[in-house]
């Protein structure tokens, strides 16, 4: 009980800092990078839901990010729709495509699923790239409007955009908390653990995986839609496989299958990349091996490692309580 409270307090403290932060800085660059971090974290949460919690490594997420971004971009630029309407429509489009792809993709398992989704991601990229009449191809879409004002609140300053993105991020994190701390989340974890076992205890794995997958594409699409209105320029590159790999990296570093992993990993890597900017295209010289080494030696990532450490400590404590004299196990722990 005590633990839950500290966890919650920590989250609240972080949220308070995030809310107060723009009041103490005028540094547009810092606000910009934080806003980008929030956008990517939303997408990484999507990847985490299906890959980290449900155990189905989807490599199509940059594709769904692209669909969300292009939907919003096209609907606002070419059809002159209001951003909010475009975002809602964009989410419907993304999840509808996600649904259809999920129906097919999720019938395949493990390697097949990874390969299939990798190819789906590539198809989406190729379409965005080659279907020039619709997407303008390599030229990309320019002049995407900032989100339309809601009543008196406008979104044309970096600070207000920061708050808008923070709002969506908090919403996504809240949703993920609710889902993963319920039997619904347990169901996904059971599927990740063993699909066979899950089926034999009466879980309709296909249906559950569908829900998880479609929701994960929803997050990717939301992230893409926000990105379009925030960066205001999009090209087919945003849906290239390397973007999925970036998301994957954020996730692995932060901790796959943990709730705080996406934020931790994205914050860390995005900021680190800023400092390593002199490396530019060569940053993968560091991050590539990092990804490989982490998955071999520390697959839990930062958040997972912390969780494990706390679980161990808790275990030690309870064992001490239950068996006051147990010098052997004490020594083993050391």
């Amino acid at each position: 009980m005590e633990k839950v409270l500290t966890n919650r307090n920590l989250s609240m403290l972080l949220l308070a800092i995030a809310i107060l932060f723009p009041l103490f800085t005028d540094n547009q660059y810092v606000l910009h990078i934080f806003s980008l971090t929030f956008i990517w974290t939303i997408a990484v949460h999507g990847l985490n839901l299906i890959g980290g919690f449900t155990g189905q490594l989807s490599l199509a997420h940059a594709g769904f990010f692209g669909i969300g971004a292009y939907s919003v971009g096209l609907l606002t630029v070419k059809m002159g729709l209001n951003f909010w309407l475009a975002l809602v429509l964009g989410l419907i489009i993304t999840t509808a495509i996600g649904f259809v792809i999920g129906l097919v993709a999720l019938r395949t398992k493990e390697h097949f699923f990874a390969i299939y989704t990798l190819c789906v991601g590539y198809i989406i990229y190729l379409l965005l790239y080659k279907w020039e009449e619709l997407t303008e191809g390599v030229r990309g879409l320019i002049g995407i409007p900032v989100p339309a004002p809601i009543g008196p609140i406008t979104f044309d300053t970096p600070r207000n955009q920061y708050y808008l993105l923070l709002f969506f991020l908090v919403l996504v994190i809240f949703l993920m908390h609710r889902i993963m701390n319920s039997i619904i989340g347990r169901t996904y974890i059971a599927i990740r653990n063993s699909e066979e076992l899950a089926e034999t205890i009466g879980i309709a794995t296909m249906k559950q995986k569908m829900v998880s997958f479609v929701l994960s594409t929803f997050f990717a699409g939301l992230s893409g839609g926000l990105y379009a209105a925030f960066v205001r320029f999009i090209g087919p590159d945003i849906s290239y496989i390397s973007v999925t790999f970036d998301m994957l990296m954020y996730l692995i570093v932060g901790g796959m299958g943990t709730l705080s992993g996406p934020l931790i990993g994205t914050l860390l890597i995005v900021w680190l990349s800023q400092y390593l900017q002199f490396l530019q295209n060569y940053r993968m010289l560091i991050f590539g091996p990092l990804l490989t080494l982490l998955i071999i030696f520390y697959p839990r990532g930062i958040a997972g490692g912390y969780q494990m450490w706390r679980a161990k400590r808790y275990m030690r404590k309870t064992q001490q309580l239950m068996q006051p004299v147990n010098p052997v196990s004490m020594k083993e722990e050391k």
Partner: protein
């Protein structure tokens, strides 16, 4: 019309040969270790660069440069197996893919750092145009098809006629059984990775003079190779060869008759159709 068709068939054979070689390496590794090596495309890319650089730096003959490239990439593949896939053999199935992606990203960045990001042409001593059964083609294309066929025959002889080759086959058919009869699984795995890397190097080296050499050259190739081995059955050697040519033909014909822009989509549409109908691949065995 007939001319175009014959020309396209020849084209298809050229593309298909390259695809088959890449897919062969991928399928061999899958057969032995049940790993879909996502970094195989990076091996292909390094293979292209090695041949190019060895040729340019030392001035040796194209064919010698290819030999050097085979060894470098083969050893790189062995290192991958030892340092990455072997430690992950008991990890959850997502891990080996993520690790492979990490290596791929690294190799691409490294190549880009050392040799730059430009698209580079590869010179070849086989650039001359010849008449071949009434077709006007470059020697290079004939070389591609010929090399692929020779390599496949040699590989087949190696697998069927040598002790080591038989071991590879045995292991790919029954891993546990192979352990029981005392096969040194580590050695077989390393050898398989060497062959797989070598095949990728050959494929890249013969294909590069008609394509180009650049850090991202492996992306499409690896994706297509995956499509091929799914068509042909993961782990199946004849499947990889036939699948490679099937894809070569479909692409080349659709480039002529449909649209050159979308020819890269063919492979993926093929995959989508196949996996929709048969989630475990076209020639899935009873295993799960």
């Amino acid at each position: 019309m007939i001319d175009i068709l014959v020309q396209q068939i020849f084209n298809a054979m050229t593309i298909g040969s390259v695809y088959s070689l890449v897919a062969l390496g991928l399928t061999l590794v899958y057969g032995i270790l049940h790993i879909p090596n996502f970094a195989h495309g990076a091996l292909y890319m390094v293979g292209g660069y090695m041949t190019l650089i060895v040729m340019l730096e030392t001035g040796v003959h194209y064919l010698l440069a290819i030999v050097a490239s085979i060894f470098v990439v083969g050893i790189l593949a062995i290192l991958m197996e030892r340092l990455v896939f072997h430690p992950l053999r008991n990890a959850p199935p997502t891990h080996d893919k993520i690790a492979a992606i990490g290596m791929m990203l690294f190799l691409e960045a490294l190549v880009q750092l050392v040799w730059g990001a430009e698209y580079r042409p590869m010179p070849t001593p086989f650039g001359q145009v010849v008449e071949f059964f009434g077709l006007t083609v470059t020697m290079q294309r004939i070389l591609i098809i010929g090399t692929a066929i020779v390599v496949m025959i040699l590989l087949n002889l190696f697998l069927k006629k040598t002790m080591v080759g038989a071991t590879i086959i045995a292991m790919s058919q029954d891993r546990e059984g192979a352990f029981l009869v005392g096969i040194n699984a580590n050695k077989v795995a390393m050898l398989t990775f060497f062959i797989s890397g070598g095949l990728a190097a050959i494929a890249a080296s013969i294909a590069s003079p008609i394509n180009l050499v650049f850090p991202g050259m492996g992306h499409l190739v690896i994706l297509k190779a995956f499509v091929i081995i799914i068509i042909g059955g993961m782990g199946s050697i004849p499947g990889a060869i036939i699948g490679g040519y099937i894809l070569g033909f479909s692409e080349s014909l659709s480039a002529t008759f449909i649209s050159n822009d979308y020819k890269d989509l063919i492979a993926f549409l093929l995959l989508v159709v196949i996996l929709t109908a048969r989630p475990k691949g076209l020639f899935a065995k009873g295993v799960h």
